[in-house]
């Protein structure tokens, strides 16, 4: 019987594994390879390798300007999301009322409800407030979208954090701020770091809200990519996609290092 043979099941599992790896990684591998292509059009496998698309990317003011705009959004957005999110996580971990659940739900809402709704709502109101097409408008919107990630990462860490350490510091006469800075913060800093890293990645990759809020003058790189992909698939986009990908990979590696140091389990 086929179903009873051990070999059949081991073989099937092998096939599933290979198919999965190909399906999940093929888009990334293809993008990576094409970005180094020496051909003048999209073709795979490329006839040879060159850095022409990276040169084109860095010599084209549209790409450098939009990349720079993205960086100018992601740095303040990630810092604000980290500070606000960490502060909120600390407060919520100490509250025991029913309010804490409701407040956490409210702060997590931008993660749960579809981004298109957030984007449309923010766009409508920001236009009235004069924040449409401004860097600050985009930064505020990105803080809203990334704050839930910081909140959940730091909260998860605080759930296993031993509060007695902080109490001990207080009992030994440390003022609250000192106890926080010397005891709590060093212990939760890996979680704060990974929250900030993911806030940066999400902000860098964000498209939908940016699509609504940006103008040709203030335009993040994802919006520029979007309009290029819709028009024509030019290999320069593969080079930009690779930059975005390497950025995420770098953040993931940094996070892995932070987790290893803190002894937290790997995963999401």
């Amino acid at each position: 019987m086929l179903f009873h043979s051990e070999k059949f099941w081991i073989g099937l599992r092998g096939v599933i594994n290979v198919l999965l790896v190909v399906y999940m990684l093929a888009p990334l591998v293809v993008t990576l390879v094409i970005s180094f292509s020496s051909a003048l059009y999209l073709t795979f496998p490329p006839p040879g390798f060159s850095l022409q698309w990276y040169e084109k990317m860095f010599s084209n003011p549209t790409w450098t300007r939009t990349l720079w705009t993205s960086v100018k959004i992601l740095i303040p957005a990630a810092i604000l999301a980290t500070v606000f999110g960490t502060a909120a996580a600390l407060a919520l971990s100490r509250m025991e009322s029913r309010w804490a659940v409701a407040i956490r739900g409210l702060l997590m809402a931008p993660l749960i409800i579809p981004v298109i709704i957030t984007a449309a709502a923010i766009f409508g109101v920001f236009r009235i407030w004069g924040l449409y097409g401004t860097l600050s408008g985009l930064v505020i919107a990105h803080v809203i979208l990334t704050l839930p990630f910081v909140l959940s990462t730091v909260s998860a860490n605080l759930a296993v954090f031993d509060r007695r350490l902080e109490d001990a510091a207080s009992n030994c006469g440390a003022p609250p701020w000192t106890a926080f800075r010397r005891i709590t913060l060093p212990l939760i800093s890996p979680a704060v770091m990974s929250g900030m890293l993911f806030a940066m990645v999400i902000s860098f990759d964000e498209l939908i809200v940016s699509l609504f809020l940006s103008t040709p003058r203030v335009r993040p790189v994802t919006v520029q990519m979007w309009s290029n992909i819709k028009g024509d698939t030019d290999p320069t986009i593969a080079a930009i996609a690779t930059v975005l990908f390497l950025f995420s990979l770098f953040a993931l590696l940094m996070d892995g290092l932070a987790r290893r140091r803190s002894g937290r389990a790997p995963g999401l």
Binding site: A91, I117, G124, L244
Partner: protein, 274 residues
Amino acid sequence: MSFKDRNIWLLMPALLLIGICFLYPVSWLLQRSVSEPVWGLQNYFTIFSKTIYLGVLWNTVAIAGATTILCALIGFPVAYSMVHSSPWVRKILIFSVLIPFWTSILVRSFAWLVILQRGGIINDVLIGVGMMAEPLDLVYNRFGVLLGMVQVLLPFVVFPLFSVMARIDGSFVRAANNLGATPIRAFFRVYLPLCLPGLLTGAMLVFIIALGYFITPALLGGRGDIMIAQLIFERIDEFGDWPLASALAIVLLVGTGLLFLLINALLKIRGGRI
């Protein structure tokens, strides 16, 4: 100063920001959906009575549903394989699910275009080896949308399933086998029910996220694959039609919210039993 006072100050920045720049805009959207052009529910009636809007709603549910089923069907053997593989193979599998998870959807949709389009890799190969005379239409249709969406959403069903399967005691299935159950019967009566909490959570999560999807269907789909999020975007971006776009957004919001409550309820029931 007590902890209580400090908590309020720690919460203030996040609460103010979310309140003013998120909660208020969403309620503003809700208000516009019922106040324009005149007060009433006519925007909602329009959505649920015009064939084009009903068509988009149906597309949304159909694509999200198909994505969910495919993710469950693919995710189940993948999670199983992850749990029962050697640590080395497991690492590779987790890596290949996690890396794309943290890569932008825009990048991946672009890559699928490169792979699937008429002059793309797959068609090049098929024609090159003589299997096809004409390039296949693999993209700008439902196939392209589903291929792209399943790749993006698969991790959401694999990880909950993985964590549930990893905790299942193998002796249950062995006991069923020893008591004379065929492998298929043991699977359906013993193993699958034990996996159900993870499978349900993952599937519901995929369905909810898929309902609000925008980028993948917009890039990989055709005119016939428009989903609700694209319709909202188009109504605002091209026509400035706020009343209808707002009503569509609220329909999506309510649908998503109800499903989310349902997951929570399901998890609670399941949590009590297992």
